[in-house]
C-alpha cells in the first residue's frame, strides 16, 4: 500500500478535485480514489502530481504511513532543552 498526502497538498493549493484532475489529465473520480488510498498511481501520474504541487515525489507518496500533521508540527515547535 502506498500512503499519500495528495489531499493535503491539494487543499493547500486551493484546488478542487476536478481542477487537479484536469491538470494531471485524469478523471476527477481518480483523484478521490488516490486520496482515499484505494488506488496506487503509476509512476507517470505520481510524477505529474509532484510537478503540479512543486515538490519531490517522496513528499507526496510514502511506503510508510505519514505521522499525524499535529505531531509533526508539535515536534518542530518544541523548545530546545534549557530554553524554558
Amino acid at each position: 500500500m502506498i500512503h499519500n498526502r495528495i489531499a493535503l497538498y491539494r487543499t493547500e493549493k486551493g484546488l478542487s478535485r476536478r481542477e487537479l484532475a484536469e491538470r494531471v489529465e485524469v478523471n476527477p473520480q481518480t483523484i478521490g480514489f488516490l486520496e482515499r488510498g484505494t488506488y496506487s498511481p503509476s509512476v507517470e501520474l505520481a510524477l505529474k502530481l509532484a510537478r503540479e504541487f512543486g515538490v519531490k515525489v517522496e513528499a507526496i507518496f510514502s511506503l510508510e504511513p505519514y505521522p499525524p500533521l499535529a505531531d509533526e508540527l508539535g515536534s518542530r515547535m518544541e523548545l530546545p532543552e534549557g530554553d524554558s
Binding site: 478535485r17 489529465e25 485524469v26 478521490g32
Partner: protein, 161 residues
C-alpha cells in the same frame, strides 16, 4: 502504465449513453442479474406445464433481459468497452479487473452447469432438454455481457469536490 495525454471529459465520452448514478446502476445490476438467475433456477425447479410457473419464470427472464439492455446502454458499459485512450489509468485497471471477474464467473457457471448436468443424469435420472440448455446459455450470455459494467458500477464513487 501509460497515461493518455488527452482523456476527454465524462460529458464528452458518455454522449449517447444513459448517465446513471452509481446507486441507480447498482440497483439495476442487482435486478438484472437477480431476475435472470432466479428465472433460470425457477424454470428448472418448478414443475413443468403449469401456466403460473411459466408466467413467473418468463416474467423474471424478460425483466432481467430488459434491465440488462438498460445496463448495456449506460455509461458504465461505455467504460467497459471504451477505446484505451478515452479512459484514464485507474479506469483501465478497474476495467481489466472487471473483465477478469466476468471471465471467472463464466468459467464457474459452465462448471456448475456441467456438474448439475452430470448429477441430474446420473442420480436423478433427469435429462435436460435443448430448451433448458438454451435458457441457461441465455442467462450466461446476458450476464457475461453486462457483468463488467455491473462490477464497474459497484466500484464507482461519486465525485466530491
Amino acid at each position: 502504465m501509460r497515461l493518455n495525454q488527452s482523456v476527454p471529459s465524462n460529458e464528452v465520452k458518455h454522449k449517447g449513453y444513459l448517465s446513471l448514478q452509481p446507486g441507480t446502476a447498482r440497483v439495476l445490476s442487482v435486478v438484472a442479474l437477480g431476475c435472470l438467475h432466479l428465472g433460470s433456477v425457477l424454470s428448472f425447479a418448478l414443475p413443468k406445464g403449469l401456466s403460473w410457473a411459466t408466467l413467473i419464470t418468463s416474467g423474471l427472464s424478460l425483466v432481467g433481459m430488459l434491465v440488462a439492455v438498460i445496463m448495456f446502454l449506460c455509461s458504465y458499459s461505455f467504460i467497459a468497452n471504451a477505446p484505451e485512450g478515452w479512459i484514464d489509468e485507474r479506469e483501465l485497471t478497474e476495467r481489466n479487473a472487471a473483465y477478469l471477474r466476468a471471465l471467472q464467473y463464466v468459467v464457474v457457471m459452465i462448471l456448475v452447469g456441467l456438474l448439475v448436468l452430470e448429477v441430474a443424469s446420473r442420480f436423478l435420472s433427469h435429462q435436460f432438454t435443448a430448451e433448458e440448455f438454451t435458457k441457461y446459455l441465455n442467462v450466461l450470455f446476458f450476464s457475461s455481457m453486462i457483468m463488467p459494467a455491473c462490477l464497474l458500477a459497484w466500484r464507482d464513487q461519486p465525485v466530491v469536490d
